[in-house]
Symmetry: C2
DNA sequence: TTATAAAAAGATAAAAAAATCTTTATATAT
DNA sequence: ATATATAAAGATTTTTTTATCTTTTTATAA
């Protein structure tokens, strides 16, 4: 469903959303150990998010990664799209390019309503919504 | 979501369900070209399904692969489990081993209802149910 | 201005998944 | 019996994904 890369990126982003701001950054290597992801790997993923304006970074002493308020209000799906591309979540379950609602594949009716509902949630929930759940005890870390 | 291998296997199984029986087998290489899957690859996958009693084969002249009535009545999910293993569809979206309904990860509420509904469909629909849809024009090939 | 601390970029390596090739076993027909 | 057609099994190759390592750039502070 999600690649390792997307999973790691989401874990990182959740951590950043809870614990960082422009005044309070975190080093890639510290973040890595806190969310159980290889340090060099998470650094790469964060660089990609920064390039796509889904996270921020500063170089040099007292530098590090953080999320600003705009980032925290991005829909969850944007982070997945940034790392995995759009096709991964949107393509036909059987990999058929012709499959759509007018020309449904044999698994379409069985799976698409759920997929659409999931995509809808991912599009309408932002990172901050997930953080609110965590703070209300509706979901939990650690990552 | 599904590996290439599972997608290929499901396409093969659907074809076999519609077009084969113990009196009417098909060669791996013929099936391969009909469903657009590499011949050596589909042969391997079918061998795995045969080993797990989800399909049948006969060697030698007039041999080939086919599904019997029991196979056609297997739930769709069994073919996926046979190829991808059970974990792939059941593990936490973020890959967290501790995640469950009592200790939900931040994506759990957002995704699990849909995943459960999908799994339920895959468990309760058998291959023949999909074939009936195709025959009624509710879904369509080619594969 | 120099040293240092950090991310960015790019190159490389390792592991897993996808795909193919070769050999063996088995059934059928001649 | 022998030749042939097929799946089964196993080995190998290729591609993709995952992960790491090295070098460069940039910002800070002494």
């Amino acid at each position: 469903m999600l690649s390792n890369s997307s999973k790691y990126a989401l874990k990182a982003v959740l951590y950043l959303a809870i614990h960082t701001s422009s005044e309070n950054k975190i080093l890639a290597r510290d973040l890595a150990s806190l969310i159980n992801v290889p340090p060099a790997y998470i650094a790469k993923l964060l660089q990609e998010l920064v390039r796509k304006n889904l996270a921020h970074s500063e170089k040099g002493p007292h530098g590090g990664f953080y999320l600003d308020e705009l980032n925290k209000n991005e829909p969850v799906i944007n982070f997945i799209y940034a790392i995995d591309g759009e096709d991964k979540l949107n393509s036909c379950l059987l990999g058929l390019s012709h499959c759509n609602h007018l020309n449904p594949c044999p698994l379409h009716h069985l799976a698409n309503p759920m997929r659409d509902a999931l995509l809808n949630n991912l599009k309408h929930k932002c990172i901050n919504d997930l953080v609110i759940d965590i703070k209300n005890g509706k979901s939990s870390l650690p990552l």
